[in-house]
Subunit: 457 residues, 2 copies
């Protein structure tokens, strides 16, 4: 007999996952290898080892080991803010008058405000283990930079964050959280790197982009002794660490004998989506169970739905390896009126392959309807969601309303990746009816598509 | 045999308290009655009923009923964000190298960012039940206003918040959270009330105070049909609702066979402290157990330690009942350089009586040492604390270091009332070494003491 489902399911410490799940091991079509931008050949361990920590390079390249144990030191840190709750959205269901059962995995209850901490602590751990002095990274909205600052403070590592200039100016509070955790925060583009000076010379007055901040952070890491670069999304290693989200969610559902029908995550670079779907996609890949898996992206940055599956640069400066992924072109920058995060031009190579092979669906949502959904959710469920997460909320509400029409009692699970406390300018624009939608035209997208590198077939 | 203590203890839904504990029932010396400012006589139910909801008036005046059941509708809302975790601060203990066992009850994991939601939802519920249209209130830092906005959105009530003008300007994000939950937010003093216009005429350019915002909110409630006033601290009813904090904390400790030695809470108006200590003070009042109970207040607003136990007005406009409490005088306003909340001139009458009778101790801490403690805590425990909460952190660290000296393995429990995400200006001042301490002189305090009303003996 099914137990009554509480509002929030927390796993006990001894029920927590002890290994990350590397679902590349179960993929028949593996994600295409990264290519060395200088030679066009697949990257080797040595190519990557001057950029990333050694053990992270291993994880990046490992397509075969299904489970990778989570080191005790990381599990100790996880214990401080995990398990995150799997919440039954009783009040939202009631509001929508839907027969659907809605669950969300809430990753916002930590000071970084999002799931980003799951990978930050892992990457900081391996850097510490390797005896490094510090790490560099970029941050856009600031969630990843905050998470990394917290992780570095914990392990006593230097942390240098290149923060996209418009965010640096618009989100001074995020910057201060990072500084409070001891990080050095530099607005990007800056005159502290060669690539930064080049970009500033070519585009005076630019307010920066994620791709450009990546280039600066990589340069800063590789030009200093004892530093490596770390990244908060897109990479295989990041998806690996983020599988803790899905593994916990699935364990919580299993504990109460609940089977999901639809699993929904927002998708920017793919870190949350890739983590949330892990055990579900695993069963799907192995043919054990079927699930609808839905990626939700902003209409203003639609890499899955309107991008090209091709090799492209991960960064604007074109210093990073090439990655085969759904991409809008590495020079694509969404309109500044887009407030909702998920601004990256590309998409995780793993998720790109899975989408290409039909294992996951993708849908786009517009900014104003995302904030409509966010406010509706906030008022009944009591959590002010991050704009990113609200993309998933919008899609989940749509699915629940579909169930209302069909009368089907489907179980919907979505990822509530974070909180919106540092996004109040966006909420203010919404509250003041100043928010608009931006959808790139076909012509715009074609322009960037034509600039994709002619490499890797 | 004692079970191993997890990092976080969560109660199950069926272990959650089903009644608030009214510890006035166990006090030999009851708190002194509120006095009608016009007549000087103890207030009656009717005196209060045009300001507060009927059932809340009953709770305010009830000195005898030990347990008051929590209505199902409130417990349903509590289920969305409660139980809050009781966290074992393993990493802080390690950092301090103390034999003490440190626990904190973390109330910050909800969108209001603090424990204030516990009473907001109760007060909104009784307003809804009475068929009211809406409620008015004041807010300083914004935690209470945010909590009330969330509660009113949930029950579909109008919510009008008078926000102290300097906070309204310095904390635009708090204001936007309230607006997102549908509240009307007015900077105080305003020209929308008589008392506001009077204060503006007498003090042009004033940036407002809590006492003044209270006066405006009371006027707005009592001059409109279908509205009542609600308050986030000081009142007996608020302490009653907040006992959920202590009841959960004690149940979590009991579950693992742990007895607290020291219980520590920050104290502004007393809502958190009064809630946290509930079951502990109950056992102490009944002579069943002994605990050290420590109130921590800012050196810049030291009502317990340097105030007078006397009747005083609760508000600057002197329209509210008089309350016998430790007070600095209703015109006292802490220096604007004080960033750490806990700015109220008075103190809960219940806690005042308990302090007067020797059941609780009080200590003061200075602003810079509070932020030192906050940052130390944030870096090892991963939570960025509210400045208010950090007063308790500072005292808990001091107690743990005392245990280190004496070698005693005492168990310390403190209240981590909230998060600091909306207090980043204060953290910025700290990060930039721009923070200073302010301690009122004896002469200043004497000036306000002389203005205390000559009433109630």
């Amino acid at each position: 007999m099914a137990k009554q489902i509480p509002y929030k399911i927390y796993l006990e410490e001894d029920e927590m996952p002890k290994a990350w799940y590397n679902y590349r091991a179960d993929m028949k079509n593996k994600p295409a290898p990264l290519l060395n931008p200088a030679t066009g050949a697949p990257v080797t361990h040595d190519d990557l080892a001057h950029v990333f920590c050694d053990e992270l390079v291993d994880q990046e390249l490992d397509n075969t080991t299904p489970y990778i144990p989570i080191p005790d030191e990381i599990r100790k840190f996880y214990n401080m803010y995990r398990p995150s709750p799997l919440v039954r959205a009783y009040c939202l269901e009631e509001k929508l008058q839907t027969p659907a059962k809605i669950y969300y995995k809430f990753e916002g209850n930590n000071t970084s405000g999002s799931h980003k901490l799951n990978s930050a602590i892992a990457q900081a751990y391996y850097a510490k283990k390797q005896g490094l002095k510090g790490v560099t990274t970029e941050t856009g909205a600031g969630q990843w930079g905050t998470a990394l600052s917290m992780a570095c403070a914990y392990f006593g590592l230097d942390c240098h964050v290149f923060m996209v200039k418009c965010s640096y100016e618009q989100k001074p509070f995020r910057r201060e959280v990072m500084r409070t955790y001891g990080a050095e925060v530099t607005p990007s583009p800056s005159d502290t790197t060669e690539i930064g000076r080049k970009i500033l010379a070519e585009h005076p007055g630019t307010t920066g982009s994620l791709g450009c901040a990546i280039s600066e952070a990589v340069e800063a890491a590789t030009s200093r002794e004892g530093y490596r670069y770390v990244l908060g999304s897109v990479l295989n290693q990041v998806l690996l660490h983020q599988t803790i989200i899905g593994l916990e969610a699935k364990a919580a559902l299993d504990k109460y004998g609940v089977k999901a029908d639809v699993v929904i995550g927002c998708a920017g670079g793919g870190s949350n989506l890739g983590g949330l779907i892990a055990p579900f996609i695993g069963e799907k890949l192995r043919g054990e169970n079927d699930y609808r898996i839905i990626a939700v992206e902003p209409a203003s940055c639609p890499s899955f739905t309107r991008g090209t599956f091709a090799y492209d640069f991960c960064d604007t400066g074109k210093v990073c390896p090439l990655s085969k992924m759904y991409t809008l072109g590495c020079d694509f920058i969404p309109s500044p009126n887009h407030a909702g995060g998920l601004r990256y031009h590309g998409m995780s190579p793993i998720l790109s392959q899975l989408y290409h092979d039909g294992y996951i669906e993708a849908t786009t949502v517009k900014q104003t309807e995302v904030f409509d959904a966010a406010v509706k959710f906030a008022r009944v469920e009591g959590i002010l969601p991050a704009p990113e997460s609200s993309h998933a909320i919008k899609a989940a509400i749509d699915e629940a309303l579909r169930c209302k029409e069909t009368g089907k009692e489907e179980t919907i699970v979505f990822g509530l990746t974070g909180t919106g406390y540092f996004d109040m300018y966006a909420y203010q624009a919404y509250n003041d009816n100043q928010m608009s939608d931006y959808i790139p035209t076909d012509e715009e997208l074609a322009k960037y598509r034509e600039q994709l590198p002619k490499i890797g077939g």
